[in-house]
């Protein structure tokens, strides 16, 4: 596939915001000592990131003004379900922020935030995992990775915010979990990579055309200058570049942030937390770009030869 930046940014940003909200909700439910101002500011940041993600996703639409129609097919479409869950999640987070500011006592809000954050991960991941013939996506690890990567980035963000704001209790509680989940996310991402490296495509040029000759090749795709089918489904990057992106995201998204988290726990200084965040953001954007690029759509079998 040709990765769309709108989708890359939307899923990465929303995932991090979900992870941050889950961290804050769990901290609140565990009654960790946290200043209310800090909690409200962190929630405001999460809402801001979610709104930015929502705006980014609208750039994927040819007709964004009609986006409201996407709520109608929730019975069958994971995309429709996502379109419903995302604004509800934003609404819950915004209400929680407002409740903190106004001093309302609404203890169910962190629970609702947890539920909708999980639901949003499920919807977002299933959009990809439910397409059975994109074999790189149609696997349970897609759901695991979207969730763990979101949690990892949300926790790293929470640590950086807690370190900046001097929220020691939250920092000391969140940092070990951030470390564990960042390592776990790296491990499951590597598991998905190694599974995909061993994939055998179910479709072939023979099954695509029904011409059962072992020596079959396309002479012409029926056009000379490309079409939607050649623009949307081919990334046209070299295998070498893909390898570099893969190495970069494993390093920046998982390995270095994990080392920096250890560093932060050991040194008690501010910079490792901020550096972990600064490295992980581009790392995870590269990860999501690679996730989309790696998908090998069976329609590509029909578009092999320009003539």
């Amino acid at each position: 596939m040709n990765p769309a930046w709108s989708v890359v940014l939307f899923t990465t940003l929303a995932g991090a915001a979900q992870g941050l909200v889950v961290t804050l909700a769990l901290a609140e439910l565990a009654a960790l000592p946290m200043s209310t101002t800090f909690l409200a500011d962190a929630l405001a940041l999460a809402v801001g990131v979610l709104v930015a993600a929502l705006v980014a996703s609208s750039f994927h639409l040819g007709r964004p003004a009609r986006a409201w129609r996407a709520v109608s097919m929730w019975r069958t479409s994971w995309l429709s379900r996502e379109v419903i869950v995302l604004p509800v999640f934003i609404g819950v987070c915004a209400l929680w922020w407002l409740a903190l500011r106004q001093g309302w006592d609404l203890p169910w809000l962190p629970v609702a935030a947890l539920v909708f954050a999980a639901a949003l991960w499920l919807c977002t991941a299933m959009i990809y995992a439910c397409i059975r013939f994109i074999q790189e996506w149609a696997q349970p690890l897609t759901l695991v990775n979207f969730t763990l990567i979101g949690m990892s980035s949300g926790l790293v963000l929470a640590c950086a915010l807690a370190a900046l704001a001097g929220q020691r209790a939250l920092l000391l509680a969140a940092a070990p979990i951030a470390l564990v989940l960042t390592v776990a996310a790296g491990v499951t991402r590597i598991a998905a990579l190694s599974r995909n490296a061993r994939l055998r495509p179910k479709s072939s040029l023979q099954s695509a055309t029904g011409i059962h000759s072992p020596n079959l090749k396309q002479m012409s795709m029926g056009m000379s200058a490309g079409a939607f089918n050649t623009r949307e489904f081919f990334h046209r990057r070299t295998p070498a570049l893909l390898r570099q992106v893969k190495n970069a995201f494993l390093l920046l998204g998982f390995a270095l942030p994990a080392l920096l988290l250890i560093c932060g726990l050991a040194t008690e200084s501010l910079w490792p937390w901020l550096l972990a965040l600064a490295l992980q953001v581009p790392g995870l954007i590269a990860e999501r770009w690679y996730f989309l690029a790696q998908a090998n759509h069976p329609q590509n079998l029909y578009y092999q030869s320009v003539a």
């Binding site: 996407a70 479409s77 011409i211 000759s213 079959l216 029926g222 200058a225 939607f228």
Partner: protein, 232 residues
């Protein structure tokens, strides 16, 4: 929960919906297609002229002309010399009986008609999210660059039910245009139709059967005619 997720993610075959009583489809005879692209141009001509608006042509007179087409003719070479074949292969929406593009549509713009099985896009409801194109293994859908909505073969739904065209012209434009009769059109659920008989007698087959989409359009394979004996 685990079982539900597993079922969602891989286990089960897609649900088999009730088989429709009528399913219009094309049957493509690869034995006689000569790759002239008359079906491509007639399709474009008819469908760019209708009430749904023109099919985009971007850079039509430039170096890289690209545009929306509902039908393409591709060419393949098969076999080893001297037993080689050139196969011209027309390709359009297959109007699957279990179309994976339909349930993923978030707005309901993509739908399959119960009355005749045609898979259509309601251009007024489409938001151009391209998810249906991702969910079609055949690459049958093309986003129109000008209108920014998803487009695809309609089986010339505005021809086949037309009150104004003479009855003999109430067929898809590609079928009308084919000079060799390589394109048959009809109801594949009617066992006595031309298309059903052709599928039965000529070994009609579906594309990518491994994904269980049950394409309504089928292809008739090449038949190798043995060379005549010398002096025969």
């Amino acid at each position: 929960m685990i079982a539900w997720l597993r079922k969602l993610l891989q286990g089960e075959e897609p649900p088999q919906p009730d088989t429709l009583a009528k399913q219009l489809a094309l049957v493509i005879d690869l034995n006689v297609c000569v790759g002239c692209h008359a079906c491509v141009t007639s399709c474009k001509q008819w469908n760019t002229s209708g009430s749904a608006g023109p099919l985009a042509d971007v850079d039509a007179y430039g170096a890289s002309p690209t545009g929306t087409f509902f039908n393409r003719v591709q060419t393949y070479e098969a076999g080893h010399y001297p037993d080689t074949q050139t196969v011209h292969f027309p390709k359009s929406c297959l109007h699957c009986e279990d179309p994976p593009c339909v349930p993923v549509c978030p707005t309901g713009a993509s739908y399959k008609r119960k009355s005749d099985g045609i898979v259509l896009v309601d251009y007024d409801k489409c938001i151009g999210c391209k998810y249906c194109a991702w969910a079609c293994p055949y690459g049958a859908r093309e986003l129109d660059e000008a209108r920014q909505v998803m487009t695809k073969c309609t089986l010339c739904v505005d021809r086949i039910y037309s009150d104004t065209l003479p009855p003999e012209e109430r067929k898809p434009a590609c079928v009308m245009a084919c000079p060799t009769g390589a394109r048959l059109f009809g109801d594949v659920k009617d066992p006595d139709s031309e298309v059903s008989m052709a599928i039965r007698e000529r070994g009609g087959y579906a594309l990518m059967p491994e994904w269980h989409t049950r394409p309504a359009n089928q292809y008739l394979p090449r038949q190798v005619t043995p060379a005549a004996e010398d002096g025969a």
